[in-house]
Every structure is written in structure tokens, then in C-alpha cells.
């Protein structure tokens, strides 16, 4: 057992705030937060709620992606608007009939390896800030792996699993869904990447690999692109994704790893 130690002198007190963005060392009055910290928390909550309810500017995203020489196709889920989308995740996972047709035409006869789907998810700011730079870092890495990429699909009112029907309609071997993650209080701009080999409607979530918290101050974009392309490489070799991927990679002959 530790022995009793005198409270530290002021100069020994460690500044935990230098070590994490978490709300550490807030101080307290009884069990209560200091007033300023209390109100600042409420302001952040108000902002996060606003972020959930704002729409992505698809026209602007399309221009930026076109500027990188990438073509774009706009698609929609079966959730007609934001308020339906929040209550009906099932509709956010289904592709509208019109979008399905559009993707089938886009993919017909192309035999794409990879489909990149940008889904608004629950944070428009994550998509607007981070999706384009991440794609810019990722596409050359896919090219270096000799993989062909379908036009970028910009998906509205879309959940992660929308990538399954989208990738399937495009006829792609693998999908990378970049989705606006549910905003937290401190970070409303986190992007998540969900990678699935063999996209088809009904894939279980355990069949995906996830790279989360992609943002400035979280997982830096360059590093995220590196991790995603590494997963893509492993999946293309093993034809497996999700929780079984690690074991499948371990079984590969060492010369191919």
C-alpha cells in the first residue's frame, strides 16, 4: 500500500492540460464545475447540435474534387430529409432507386477495384473540412497499388452501410466510405473511414475495418491515408475485411506481405 504523502507544492503540480484535449483540471466547487466551465460546456453542446442539422454543400465539394481531376457522382439514400434521417437509420443505409441506376451505369463494364463513397453521416463540417484533402492524399496511394478507382460518390443523408449497395451497384471489389462522425463537444469535424471488401447489401459491421477520428488534432490526414491504403492492400491480397483480416494476413506467405 502507498503511504500517506503530503499534498504537492505548487510548482510540482503537473499541468494535465498540456497532455490531452480532454476537459481535465477543470477545478470544482463541491461537486460543481466552476461557472465558466459549466457555461462553456453548454455552448459547445449547442454548437454540436447545430452541426448535426446543417447540410453538406455538394456543389462546392464537386468543384473541389473536379479541381483535383476527379469525377464525381451524386447519390441519395432513401431518407428524404434530415429529420427522417436522424430517426430512420435503415433508410440512410438504402440507396434510392435512381441513385442505384446511376451507379450501375457509371460502373458498367469498368471493373473498378475501389469505390470511394463520401457520406454526410452526422457531421457536415467533417465532410467539408476533411474529405477532399483525405481523398487527395489517398488516390495516389491507390494508384501506386495499381488499383482503379470509380468516380467519387457524394452521398446525402447517408450512413456507413450505404457503401454496400453503392459499391455493389458500381461493381467495385472494395468500398471506402468516408463518413462524418457523430460530433463530439470538442471536435465536430471527425471523419471516419470504413473499408469493406466485397461490398453487397447485408454485409455485417464485423466485415468492415474502421479508421476513426480523422481530423486535425486527431488522426492526421496523411497518416490516415497511409493506414487506409495499407488496409486496402491487405484486403485485396486476402479478399477478406473486418475482424477476420488480421488472421488472414498472418496466413499469407511472408514474401507477399
Amino acid at each position: 500500500m502507498a503511504k500517506v504523502i503530503e499534498p504537492a507544492a505548487a510548482e510540482q503540480v503537473l499541468d494535465l492540460k498540456d497532455m490531452t484535449d480532454a476537459r481535465v483540471s477543470l477545478g470544482r466547487h463541491g461537486a460543481g464545475l466552476p461557472t465558466r466551465a459549466q457555461l462553456s460546456f453548454l455552448l459547445d453542446h449547442a454548437r454540436a447540435r447545430e452541426a448535426v442539422w446543417t447540410s453538406v454543400d455538394r456543389a462546392a465539394l464537386t468543384d473541389r474534387l473536379n479541381g483535383l481531376g476527379l469525377s464525381v457522382v451524386s447519390i441519395d439514400s432513401m431518407a428524404g430529409d434530415r429529420s427522417i434521417y436522424v430517426r430512420r437509420p435503415d433508410l440512410g443505409r438504402l440507396l434510392s432507386a435512381e441513385s442505384t441506376d446511376r451507379l450501375k451505369q457509371t460502373g458498367a463494364g469498368k471493373g473498378y477495384d475501389v469505390a470511394i463513397v463520401v457520406a454526410d453521416g452526422l457531421s457536415s463540417s467533417a465532410v467539408e473540412l476533411n474529405a477532399v484533402p483525405l481523398i487527395e492524399a489517398l488516390v495516389p496511394k491507390l494508384t501506386a497499388l495499381n488499383l482503379s478507382a470509380a468516380p467519387i460518390a457524394l452521398a446525402n443523408q447517408a450512413r456507413v452501410a450505404l457503401g454496400d449497395p453503392a459499391g455493389h451497384a458500381l461493381g467495385a471489389k472494395l468500398t471506402i466510405v468516408l463518413v462524418g462522425e457523430r460530433p463530439g463537444l470538442s471536435a465536430a469535424d471527425s471523419l471516419g473511414a470504413y473499408i469493406t471488401y466485397g461490398p453487397k447489401p447485408g454485409n455485417p459491421d464485423s466485415g468492415r475495418n474502421c479508421v476513426s477520428n480523422i481530423r486535425d488534432g486527431g488522426l492526421p490526414l496523411g497518416q490516415a491515408a497511409e493506414i487506409i491504403s495499407g488496409l486496402v492492400r491487405d484486403m485485396m491480397k486476402t479478399r477478406v475485411s473486418g475482424v477476420a483480416l488480421k488472421a488472414a494476413v498472418a496466413k499469407l506467405p511472408s514474401s507477399t506481405v
Binding site: 502507498a2 503511504k3 494535465l16 480532454a22 476537459r23 471536435a187
Partner: protein, 463 residues
């Protein structure tokens, strides 16, 4: 078979047991999403009345999900203990509610009936109980578990210190853990939700937490909440794994969505026990559950989300866990739309878990797309303390910067200690005093050098 109630000449008919249970469930968005909820309050009451008249034995005769298709149903059927059930076997669901509430139904009687109850019976009775009913019964039922300390003793409340970091940064994790320890949080577990699922990171995180626990001689346990397959690999590499964690749900298909089945959980349980890091006979498993998990995996088979949740407890109790908590407000507004639904679900989950013999805790929490706020959490926490919850989860300033949701703050734990008079596990309470964090009355008094200078003495994170 079909069930009927007549209210003022209107006959309400419910085709089968799962329809009856779904229609009898207090309103929540998840059942509406699944298209199985009552049309309105009168139909709901009709279902509750029919349910109240149903003999408990009916649940032994009609499976909600066939054992032929589902290993969770098979487990429930195999584990049902007719001798334990005999104390309540003649009762209807409505009479069972009354039996539970009677003062003569003491802790020992509730404990004796534990393995005679199926998840479906417990879910059913909860549907016709108010919050106060469930709190009154839960408060009688203690479930005590042990690893390096004793959790769930009467009048006490443990806390999970959850020092998550968006990139699993070692210094960030330790800073957050120390912030919690300085506020007296962490006797249930110091447990990190990792951002990645790499074995290397898992090993690094448990090693980091183990060094903190060991150097400060904290009578608690640590956990990295990665997948069981990652935990098994880490154990094979000799990592210091105290608790093996897994999310579980109430059907084989939903568990498949989590990448587990009963055989894999058994393997994980044995791997955890083989390390013998706790006291003899220690509980080594940690499970999380939550209403909506099965529905979100399209693995609910038309069964309401609260009954599916209680079925997950049948999975959990098979492996003698140290800790189980529902992540009640985490799964989202499509399952529990607002503060009222989250509060009711938190009280239900705790009640049902305790009746089935689980060391039940609650992650009192909500997300930014739900219609809820910190005041709803104040209400749920206070009610749970009245109900005798084993533990809750706390994070710095109620803001989990990795999982992007709001749980309780370490400050809220101080409120439970000082206003609601709920001290932590006795071993941990003694440690808090010995290291200089609390005075003789258990009030927080200072910032001992051992904690504030810990970072400089750590071998694993460096200065």
C-alpha cells in the same frame, strides 16, 4: 398462440408472444423504427393488461426466437432452473410484479430465484412497472463481484474511470486517468476504449494502465476495451490483461455482427482466467450492452429492443462477469429518442440485469443528435443511486473526446459521494485516504505528489 384484451367493448388481439411484448413496451423510437410498437397509448395499455394476466410459465412454452436457429435461445432454455423457478412458477406477470415489490421478498429470495427467471420473464414484468417500482426492487438486490476489490456492496457506488484519447496517445490516456483518480474515480475499472484495433496498441495500453495501477498500488483493475480476439492475442503475448472485454447482444446473429459467438466468449473467458491476476475466484469478464444493438444489426427477429437487451444478459451471465453495463444513451436517438426514453431504459436495464444476477452498471450518457442534455443525466444518475447501481462511467468534464458523446463527469462521482453518500469500494476508499486524496470522512482534500508527479516516474510514457 394469440392473446386478447377487451377495453370497453373494443377487442385488442395480439398474434403471438413477441407481438404482445412489443406492444406492451413503453414508448421508444427503436420499436417504432422496427415497426412493432403499439399504435398508441390505449393499445399499449391493452397489451400491458393482457401481459399482466399471462402466467410466467407461458414463457417456457413459447420461444420468441427458436432454439433451432439461435444459440442464445438455446442457452436460455438450457440454463433455466426449474427448482429455482418454483418460488414464482404459479404467478402471472402481474402477480410477479407484486411479489417482487413485497417487503417479504428480500434480497435472499430474489437471489434464490435468479436462475429460475428467463430474460423474457424479466423483460415482461419490467414493462408493467413504473420507474419507482423498478428502483424499489433493484435496491433490494445486491450483486457483489471481485477482482482486486469488492464491487456492488450495499450503499456503495463504484466508477469506471474512462481515460479515452482520440489517437490512443499514451500521455493523453495517463493524463485523463490521473484527472479521474484525483477526483476519486476508478474503483470499478480504469478502462480505455481504444481508437484502433491493433494488438500492439492493445498491449501498449494495458501495459500503460498496469504500470499506473502497480506503481500507485491502486486496488483496482484495468482494461482495454478491444475485441476479444485482440485480447486473446495480447494474452498470448504475455500482456498484463486484467479484464477481458466484449460487447454482446441478444441473438446469435447480433453477436455475429460483433464478431463473436458463445464458443469464442468461452475461449476468451478461459484465457482471462488463466492469468490469475485477481484474487482467487476473481471475475474476469467485462461486457457492454445496449438497447438497439440487435435492431441496428438487423438481428432482432421482430422482438422489441428491450427484450433483446435482456436476452443479452443471458449471454453475459454465462461468463461470471466482474462488470456489465448498458451504454444506454450511446446507441442513438433512433432507438431512444430523448431524455425521457433514455432515463426509463437506464432504469429498466439496471433492474433486469440485477434480477438476472448481473453486476449491473450504467453508462449514463447521450449523444449530440439525441434530444437530451446533462440535466437528464443528473436525473438518471440520482435515480440509479437510489436503485443501488453497481457502477457508472465518468470522464473529464462529461466529454468523451474519443467516442464523441457525453457521459458523466468525474465531478458527478463527487456528487454521489458527498450528496448521496455513496462511497466507493472499501479497498479503494481506504487507498484514497492512504495516498492523501481524502480525509477521514472521505471528502476529497488534495492533490498528492504521488499522483501529480507520476508522469515523471513512468517508465512507459517518459517525461
Amino acid at each position: 398462440m394469440a392473446y386478447k384484451t377487451t377495453i370497453e367493448q373494443t377487442v385488442f388481439r395480439f398474434d403471438d408472444l413477441k407481438t404482445l411484448l412489443a406492444k406492451a413496451t413503453p414508448e421508444r423510437s427503436g420499436d417504432q423504427l422496427a415497426g412493432i410498437a403499439a399504435e398508441g397509448p390505449v393499445e399499449r395499455l391493452a397489451a400491458q393488461m393482457a401481459l399482466a394476466d399471462l402466467p410466467l410459465k407461458a414463457f417456457l412454452g413459447e420461444e420468441l426466437i427458436s432454439s433451432d436457429d439461435d444459440e442464445v435461445s438455446r442457452l436460455i432454455a438450457e440454463r433455466h432452473d426449474p427448482a429455482a423457478f418454483s418460488a414464482v412458477s404459479s404467478l402471472t406477470v402481474g402477480e410477479f410484479r407484486e411479489w417482487l415489490l413485497k417487503p417479504e421478498t428480500t434480497h435472499d429470495r430474489l437471489e434464490a430465484v435468479t436462475w429460475g427467471l428467463t430474460p423474457e420473464m424479466v423483460a415482461a414484468v419490467s414493462k408493467i412497472m413504473r420507474l419507482q417500482d423498478m428502483i424499489a426492487v433493484s435496491a433490494k438486490r445486491r450483486v457483489v463481484t471481485r477482482f482486486r476489490n469488492t464491487i456492488g456492496l450495499a450503499g456503495r457506488l463504484s466508477t469506471r474511470n474512462q481515460p479515452n484519447h482520440p489517437t490512443d496517445d499514451s500521455r493523453g490516456i495517463i493524463a485523463s486517468a490521473i484527472d479521474g483518480l484525483l477526483m476519486g474515480s476508478g474503483d470499478a475499472v480504469i478502462g480505455v476504449n481504444p481508437a484502433t484495433d491493433a494488438v500492439e496498441d492493445y498491449v501498449r495500453i494495458v501495459s500503460l494502465l498496469d504500470e499506473l495501477r502497480d506503481k500507485l498500488a491502486i486496488p483496482t483493475q484495468t482494461c482495454c476495451l478491444g475485441h476479444v480476439t485482440t485480447a486473446i492475442q495480447a494474452i498470448e503475448r504475455g500482456a498484463p490483461v486484467d479484464l477481458v472485454f466484449q460487447s454482446v447482444a441478444g441473438s446469435q446473429k447480433a453477436n455475429h455482427g460483433f464478431g463473436v459467438d458463445l464458443a469464442l466468449l468461452k475461449e476468451a473467458h478461459e484465457a482471462g482466467r488463466s492469468l490469475k491476476r485477481g484474487m482467487p475466484g476473481a471475475n474476469v469478464m467485462y461486457f457492454e450492452t445496449g438497447q438497439g444493438a440487435a435492431l441496428s444489426a438487423d438481428a432482432h427477429f421482430g422482438v422489441d429492443q428491450q427484450t433483446m437487451e435482456v436476452r443479452a444478459y443471458a449471454v453475459a451471465r454465462e461468463f461470471d462477469p466482474l462488470l456489465v453495463n448498458t451504454v444506454v444513451g450511446f446507441i442513438g436517438p433512433e432507438y431512444l429518442f430523448n431524455g425521457k426514453q433514455i432515463i426509463r431504459a437506464g432504469i429498466e436495464d439496471h433492474f433486469c440485469g440485477k434480477l438476472l444476477g448481473l453486476p449491473m452498471g450504467v453508462d449514463v450518457c447521450y449523444t449530440n443528435h439525441a434530444d437530451a442534455d446533462q440535466e437528464d443525466m443528473d436525473t438518471l444518475l440520482t435515480l440509479l443511486c437510489a436503485a443501488g447501481v453497481n457502477f457508472v462511467i465518468t470522464v473529464p468534464g462529461a466529454d468523451d473526446i474519443m467516442l464523441n458523446y457525453q457521459s458523466l463527469s468525474h465531478h458527478d462521482a463527487v456528487y454521489c459521494r458527498e450528496t448521496l453518500k455513496r462511497p466507493p469500494a472499501p479497498e479503494f476508499e481506504q487507498w484514497l485516504a492512504e495516498i492523501g486524496l481524502t480525509d477521514r470522512d472521505g471528502a476529497l482534500i488534495g492533490e498528492p505528489a504521488a499522483l501529480s508527479s507520476y508522469v515523471r516516474s513512468s517508465n512507459l510514457i517518459g517525461a
